[in-house]
């Protein structure tokens, strides 16, 4: 992990309130797994913003982030222009442990702005020859992004809250019909969704990527803990996660 002033190569709106940001810098070299994140310092804000690595390319030293405007910080971030610098701390946390994952048929379940880290994962798995089925949930058609990209990796099911794209409903809805078609699942999204998914698929190996408000982002402040069912009793999302095996954490 390092702190670097990275250069903005590309910055574009890709869906409603959703932006793609491509940064160039040396810390890309240190990325180990999909699902890790970077911690962005935005001028005028006190705390850094964690954003998942959606894609990266070590040969060109670039990393792609996809973020949604949810508050003042992400709103201010949209005003940064190509050529400007951004103070980045990263790469942080433990991603999807590619080397130890044993999967032939992966189910990817992403909700809204939880989808970006799954893109990088799906790309890697696809390159390894894994069969991929994706279920992507959005609020509505205007919020949808990365759909074409996921379709390159395999079958894609879309759900939207209002039915404006794919089927109306939640990402858990297609799960019953997909039963038996995958050996491992990978999910990221709001905590209630993660809870619903992991309860539904409790007998299948799964990896979930979590979010929590962070202080340090490096494991020192204990802001970002989640309960674990073992003796230790907790995990820090910023450094033990954000990706956990489903049985490693207690969602509430």
């Amino acid at each position: 992990m390092n702190r670097e002033s990275m250069t903005i190569l590309h910055h574009e709106r890709i869906a409603k309130d959703t932006y793609q940001l491509v940064l160039k810098g040396k810390l890309v070299d240190q990325i180990e797994d999909p699902g890790q994140f970077v911690h962005l310092l935005i001028d005028g804000f006190y705390l850094r913003r964690p954003v998942s690595i959606a894609d990266y390319d070590k040969s060109s030293g670039t990393v792609t982030l996809l973020y949604k405007v949810l508050g003042e910080g992400t709103k201010a971030l949209t005003r940064k222009s190509v050529g400007e610098q951004l103070d980045v701390l990263g790469p942080g946390g433990q991603g999807f442990p590619l080397k130890s994952i044993q999967t032939q048929r992966a189910l990817i379940i992403g909700g809204g702005i939880g989808i970006p880290p799954l893109y990088s994962l799906a790309k890697h798995l696809h390159n390894q020859g894994v069969t991929i089925i994706s279920v992507l949930g959005f609020q509505s058609m205007d919020d949808a992004f990365l759909v074409d990209e996921f379709e390159k990796f395999g079958e894609v099911y879309i759900t939207t809250d209002d039915g404006s794209l794919g089927r109306k409903g939640l990402v858990t809805d297609p799960l019953s019909e997909l039963e038996g078609t995958f050996d491992t699942y990978f999910t990221c999204g709001p905590t209630p969704m993660l809870k619903a998914v992991s309860e539904r698929l409790s007998d299948i190996p799964g990896y979930i990527s979590m979010e929590e408000r962070m202080g340090c982002g490096i494991g020192a402040c204990f802001a970002c803990v989640v309960e674990s069912p073992d003796k230790k009793g907790y995990r820090r999302i910023c450094c033990d996660g954000p990706v956990f095996r489903s049985e490693e954490v207690v969602l509430s």
């Binding site: 992990m1 006190y46 202080g215 490096i218 020192a220 803990v225």
Partner: protein, 310 residues
């Protein structure tokens, strides 16, 4: 330039250390720089047994600051001694243990154990984020004196009492712990605050209130140190919103003998080292030739006229 400062139990090569709770037990920051660069390390709070802390969210952002309500999560004093202290001991850096508790007995037990392994105790009677103990001791002069006296007699090393800024009369608190035998003061802990999320209509922090830290509180801490410097004879470790070498000078002028840097470590994990590196030229810029000349400088009546114009 010689940056060293000598305080009871602490021979500091420079006056800069990370503040308790913002630096864990050092391991995470050791990946960024050599901890031996630091004046000292103040460890995260230790309690009698393991604590899991408060529900999340535990932090919220504020203008030029943050709220936290971690709730003293820590593995307990025994595990800290076996699993955390050795890593720091391997390095040439003084260690200060931050001691917390719910009862006088817990404070005394923790101090008795951990003071055998560290250079000084920072007695945390000011944590606003736990239901029992903690902040009551820090807002009542009689209770503060009582726990201080007990901890001082249980400790093998000098005790610095960490004061809460959530009080009407900080001088009264400082004097109370001074007469109870404290060797120094640590000023200040966080101010109790709250933020409410208009979307959920609830406090952002699950605990409701949290402790406000960061640049926002610097003027309050500076004021309190300036007051206390005039009223007691104890050395002061100053903290609250330090983000630059200029801020360090401001604290020393107010009356601090050394400083601790808390939340700024989250913005920039290199902050302590960067400030230490900048200190010599900053001192020189303002016409100082050693740290001792800065300490309490704002209290010297003589007008340094030659300095008045920039």
């Amino acid at each position: 330039m010689n940056l060293s400062v000598n305080l009871p139990g602490l021979s500091l090569k420079n006056p800069v250390m990370p503040a308790s709770g913002c630096f864990g037990f050092g391991k995470e920051f050791a990946q960024f720089y050599d901890l031996e660069e630091l004046g000292a390390v103040i460890m995260k709070a230790a309690t009698g047994s393991q604590r899991f802390g408060n529900a999340t969210p535990r932090v919220a952002e504020t203008a030029s600051g943050m709220l936290n309500a971690i709730g003293l999560q820590n593995p307990g004093v025994d595990q800290i001694i076996t699993d955390e202290v050795p890593f720091l001991k391997e390095r040439q850096v003084p260690i200060i243990a931050n001691v917390a508790g719910s009862t006088v007995e817990e404070y005394v037990t923790v101090t008795g154990k951990i003071s055998e392994h560290v250079d000084a105790i920072e007695l945390n009677i000011s944590c606003p984020n736990v239901k029992e103990g903690g902040v009551q001791f820090g807002t009542d002069a009689t209770l503060a004196a009582e726990v201080t006296a007990e901890v001082v007699s249980a400790s093998h090393v000098p005790v610095y009492v960490k004061l809460s800024p959530n009080v009407t009369d900080i001088v009264e608190m400082a004097q109370a712990v001074e007469s109870a035998g404290a060797s120094g003061l640590s000023m200040v802990n966080t101010l109790t605050g709250m933020r409410i999320n208009p979307k959920t209509r609830k406090p952002i922090i699950a605990n409701g209130t949290g402790g406000l830290s960061g640049a926002a509180i610097k003027p309050i801490s500076i004021r309190m140190i300036h007051q206390v410097y005039q009223a007691v004879d104890l050395p002061i470790i100053g903290m609250g919103g330090i983000e630059s070498a200029d801020d360090v000078i401001e604290y020393l002028l107010a009356g601090a003998n050394a400083v601790a840097i808390g939340s700024a470590n989250f913005k920039n994990p290199f902050i302590c080292k960067e400030i230490i590196d900048e200190l010599p030229e900053t001192l020189e810029k303002y016409g100082f030739s050693k740290i001792d000349d800065v300490i309490g400088g704002a209290h010297i009546e003589k007008d340094p006229t030659h300095l008045l114009r920039s």
